[in-house]
């Protein structure tokens, strides 16, 4: 007898399955595509060359998930990417290293004031990261209830039990010094350019730091709200150090494989090529799923890691649930357009950047083409009017430098995350010609900073939002399953009626990136969702119910 079904074998679906199986449940994961991983996927696209197809670095992966699921034993192997190079026109650059004093020297070339301010900025961002670390440990409804308890002495309407840990987090949040709270509110509302402008004067540094505020988002650094995306990328940590990033040996697909091994070690079953058509409803509760081939699989609990357009749309019959029509309607309006493409290159040798032509540590870090705020803003403008950026923002790593197994000896792979590329082009569809033109724009841009790179290219893989949709199953191809903006966060993610992993359909839960705290290879939403399921099952057991939650 299957106790729980998880829809989708992306990293979040697998994390949810692992937690449920670890608690002794009989779990089946149903994945529509032939491969697990979702957007956490690697492939040998060309003989000898391995690419992380979409996602490329790891930082948001929750330490709780790593250690509770014993992921190191199952293959987690994160090589740090310690530096960031921003090549600039004319052979100039901005380089940030692990060593803060050396970074000070690099920044001082552009502004001595900014070099000094960077220490202060990083300190404040570590504090913000620490605040987010706390908030991430609590389901949003619990947290709201706990905060409500303190603020209005009554939060009964939220109908949740608040654990001691959550009460503690609420107290921490409410006791924040005013300056910290101000930073937090600024980060929820401001543009990253304005937010960074409070510290820095140098355009190249502001532009370099604002990169994290646009990743995966149809936003310019000058769009209000982009500061939150910045915060999203500062709450990640590697072993307690905020803002560190790691490269998983073998590519991000190996992260999915690692979590899958953990899930299987607890008895979870993972079935690929098993698309789910809809959630089965019986007596007003979820009772399993109907597969696309018509088969029924019954279970008391169903969790979906898919985006809301699927989880709260396609998989549900609005008539089956109270308020169903409104829910489906809202899910359809969920803001989750794609904005980014991925250009993966196989190259015959290491690129020679005009600013640092020789091989060195800078090639094992991130390399970002974002030479100024105007540059990025113009790239955004292209997409705003339905085109891809002629001179795009590029966030690049060289995986084969971090892990020699990614390419044949002496050869390399380049992973270029590129913005902006809208899901729909004003000038027609993403046909072969448009894809090639987009790939050409990327290579042309790279060649401005690494002359000769165009002659080193052996193979090229160009992926645009419709590919992300088709391969990873994310509607619109938005890597976060929905924009990270205040209107889609906390108790509004992905819907006011389904904000805390539960949905209005008892027994049916959400566990993907579209739930709080959003996207990235974190596993955090899935962990909290699975704990919520287990909690509900326990409550039902003590209440003598028939399995399932009590609402």
């Amino acid at each position: 007898m299957t106790d729980a079904i998880v829809v989708g074998a992306g990293h979040n679906g697998l994390v949810a399955a692992a937690y449920l199986a670890r608690a002794g449940l009989d779990v089946v994961v149903l994945e529509s595509s032939p491969e697990i991983g979702g957007a956490t996927r690697s492939e040998e696209a060309f003989p000898g060359f391995r690419f992380s197809v979409f996602s490329y670095l790891v930082s948001l992966l929750r330490p709780e998930v790593i250690h509770e699921l014993d992921l190191v034993r199952h293959g987690l192997f994160l090589v740090p990417t310690a530096s960031t190079l921003n090549p600039l026109p004319g052979g100039d650059c901005l380089f940030r290293e692990a060593d803060p004093q050396r970074t000070y020297r690099h920044i001082a070339r552009h502004s001595r004031r900014d070099a000094e301010a960077l220490f202060e900025y990083k300190l404040e961002m570590r504090r913000m990261g620490h605040l987010m670390y706390r908030l991430q440990r609590a389901a949003p409804d619990e947290l709201a209830a706990a905060i409500g308890d303190r603020v209005v002495e009554s939060a009964e309407h939220l109908d949740v039990e608040v654990s001691a840990e959550v009460a503690d987090i609420a107290r921490y949040f409410l006791d924040l010094p005013p300056a910290r709270l101000r930073s937090f509110v600024q980060m929820l509302t401001m543009s990253s350019a304005d937010f960074l402008g409070q510290w820095f004067e140098s355009d190249v540094l502001k532009s370099a730091l604002s990169s994290s505020s646009i990743i995966g988002s149809m936003l310019s650094p000058r769009t209000p709200g982009s500061a939150y995306v910045l915060l999203h990328h500062y709450m990640g940590e590697v072993d307690g150090v905020y803002r560190e990033w790691g490269f998983q040996k073998g590519g991000t697909g190996a992260v999915a494989a690692t979590i899958a091994r953990a899930a299987r070690s607890h008895g979870a079953e993972i079935r690929t090529q098993s698309p789910v058509a809809r959630v089965l409803v019986s007596d007003g509760r979820a009772a399993g799923v109907v597969l696309a081939n018509g088969d029924e699989l019954r279970a008391a609990v169903v969790m979906s890691s898919a985006a809301p357009q699927i989880s709260l749309g396609r998989l549900l019959d609005p008539g089956d649930i109270p308020g169903g029509a409104g829910l489906v309607e809202r899910a359809a309006r969920w803001q989750s357009g794609g904005c980014a493409g991925k250009v993966n290159l196989a190259i015959s040798g290491l690129p020679r950047f005009e600013c640092m032509p020789e091989p060195g540590p800078h090639l094992s870090g991130g390399i970002t083409i974002a030479p100024g705020l105007d540059y990025v803003d113009r790239a955004y403008d292209d997409a705003k009017y339905g085109g891809f950026s002629e001179r795009p923002f590029i966030d690049m790593i060289i995986p084969s430098v971090l892990d020699p197994d990614m390419a044949p000896p002496g050869k390399h792979v380049l992973s270029c995350f590129v913005q902006y590329a809208p899901y729909e082009l004003a000038a027609g569809s993403w046909d072969e010609g448009q894809r090639e033109a987009f790939g050409d724009a990327v290579v042309r841009t790279l060649a401005e900073y690494a002359p000769g790179i165009e002659d080193q290219i052996l193979h090229r893989q160009v992926l645009v939002p419709p590919d992300i949709e088709a391969i990873a199953g994310i509607p619109g191809g938005n890597i976060f399953h929905g924009e990270l903006r205040l209107s889609q966060l906390f108790l509004l993610r992905p819907d006011p009626a389904a904000a805390a992993f539960r949905t209005p359909l008892p027994g049916y839960y959400l566990c993907g990136s579209s739930t709080q705290f959003g996207g990235g290879i974190s596993g955090g939403p899935a962990r909290l969702a699975a704990l919520r399921v287990l909690d509900d099952l326990r409550t039902a057991d003590t209440a003598g119910g028939g399995g399932g939650e009590t609402r």
Partner: protein
């Protein structure tokens, strides 16, 4: 046109200049090169060199017939006024034969003294990339400061069987043995590797000098112990790509046939003729790896060949900080850090037996030969060792708990291995030992350490407290006794460890 024979002071000056060309760093020269570099006609140079050779101030290389530096010859090299004994000059920092190469790459300027040699601590400002290279690609580590003793003669095997706790009657040519050696009380003096190069020729590598001890123990035997420490350079090539790199950088060695602790002789470079090198499948990292033993004059050629071959495999030169991190993961003890050699333990309580230092597996009480310390170790076998070397592990949640008391995430990653001993307690109780090497392994994502504890607190799974610094405070972290090594990849000992390499 006949040239005038060198005469008078000019001939003396020329002869001295020639003599100064022979240094430990550049010990060998061909006649034609010397003639050219000194502006002499080859026949003049030949006559002058002949005199120097006849006086024993220089020698001839047995293979190439080139002229050769003689250790201790007066006047050789730019010795200046200070006398040279045993090839060593006073007040001069020792340089390994790879020094010119390592110095050119040591961007951080972080050097450390190791047995009098200046060695690179970390090439880059932080050891992070060097550490990961060893685990993910390959690292190249200069370990030349090891002391090396060549033991030759009809009684060479007999001497080793008397010195060492391992059974050398079972040692075979082409194999390396890791062993301990003790004093008469069974107290550990050192641990090290012994290569059997031929039936009557061994090479012992050790962290500390032991010429006198070996000679004294061999009194009356037909055996010669020669200190070759300064003559032999040693490079450790360690990591999953080590085999591919080693193969490309040497000739004449079948790496596919080399098992763990095998040794083989070959030549430096991708084509023959680069000078002889001995390769052992050994290392101090717990990973796949090889150590290269080379005469000082071929050292730079070896370095260059390995670096060249390593370019396509992510090879990085690695310093001692990275080495210390991986050796803790490998659970390997370090003399004078994890145990005190009985040769310089000032008080009795500091002395340990091999078993107490975690090296019980090197003691072969069933061997035929009598060996130094045997009777004491037999007594210990009967009553049991008093101490035990254990692996300790503190898990992530315990670290989180300790640091959350001061509202921080654990501030522990990115620190090199600590060699400051810290106390180990029974849970909430008295001290039962000390943790001597420890660090947070970014690979294993756990805080690990090597500790010496009372034998009754050493069982696997035993819970102990280890003291850690949390901010300015001292806290006790709950640890568990776990199996060593902490990290033990199959490739370390795999029969044919070829990583996946396409093309």
């Amino acid at each position: 046109m006949p040239r005038r024979a060198p005469q008078g002071t000019q001939a003396v000056q020329r002869a001295l200049a020639l003599l100064r060309s022979f240094t430990p760093e550049a010990p060998e020269h061909r006649l034609s090169d010397l003639a050219a570099s000194h502006g002499l006609h080859p026949s003049t140079a030949h006559r002058l060199l002949g005199v120097l050779e006849a006086e024993g101030l220089i020698g001839r290389s047995p293979d190439s017939q080139a002229y050769r530096w003689v250790p201790g010859a007066p006047g050789a090299g730019d010795a200046g006024p200070s006398p040279r004994h045993n090839g060593l000059r006073p007040l001069e920092p020792l340089r390994t034969p790879f020094h010119r190469r390592t110095a050119a790459l040591c961007e951080s300027g972080a050097w450390r003294d190791w047995s009098g040699y200046t060695c690179v601590e970390t090439y880059e400002p932080t050891p992070e990339r060097e550490y990961w290279a060893i685990r993910n690609a390959a690292g190249l580590i200069d370990v030349s400061p090891l002391f090396k003793y060549e033991i030759t003669g009809a009684d060479a095997e007999r001497l080793l069987d008397r010195l060492m706790t391992r059974d050398f009657s079972k040692s075979r040519t082409g194999r390396v043995m890791y062993t301990s050696w003790c004093n008469e009380e069974g107290h550990l003096l050192q641990d090290g590797n012994v290569q059997r190069l031929a039936r009557e020729r061994f090479l012992v590598s050790a962290a500390e000098p032991c010429l006198r001890w070996f000679e004294d123990c061999g009194w009356g035997m037909d055996v010669e112990v020669r200190d070759v420490s300064e003559e032999v350079g040693v490079l450790a090539l360690q990591g999953p790509r080590a085999r591919a790199i080693a193969e490309a950088a040497t000739t004449g060695i079948d790496f596919g046939a080399m098992r763990y602790f095998d040794l083989a002789a070959g030549e430096v470079g991708p084509v023959a003729g680069g000078g002889p090198v001995t390769v052992t499948r050994t290392g101090y990292t717990g990973d796949l790896g090889y150590e290269f033993w080379v005469a000082a004059e071929h050292a730079e050629a070896l370095w260059d060949a390995l670096v060249e071959a390593g370019q396509d495999h992510g090879l990085l030169p690695a310093g001692l900080l990275a080495l210390d991190m991986v050796r803790v993961e490998a659970g390997l003890v370090l003399i004078d850090v994890d145990y005190v050699s009985a040769s310089h333990a000032e008080i009795e309580v500091l002395k340990v037996t091999p078993a107490e230092a975690g090296l019980g597996f090197t003691v072969k009480l069933d061997k035929q030969a009598d060996f130094v310390g045997r009777r004491a170790l037999e007594l210990e076998r009967d009553r049991g060792p008093a101490w035990a070397m254990v692996g300790l592990e503190v898990d992530w949640f315990e670290l989180e708990r300790l640091w959350s008391e001061i509202d921080l995430r654990p501030q522990i990653v990115g620190q090199p291995a600590s060699r400051e001993p810290t106390p180990v307690f029974a849970p909430g109780g008295w001290q039962v030992g000390q943790c001597t090497s420890r660090f947070f392994s970014p690979l294993l994502k756990k805080y690990i350490g090597l500790a010496t504890v009372h034998a009754d607190a050493a069982a696997l799974g035993t819970e102990l407290d280890v003291e850690v610094s949390v901010g300015y405070g001292r806290r006790r972290a709950r640890a568990r006794v776990v199996r060593r090594p902490f990290f033990n990849p199959a490739r370390k000992t795999a029969v044919d460890p070829m990583p996946r390499v396409d093309e």
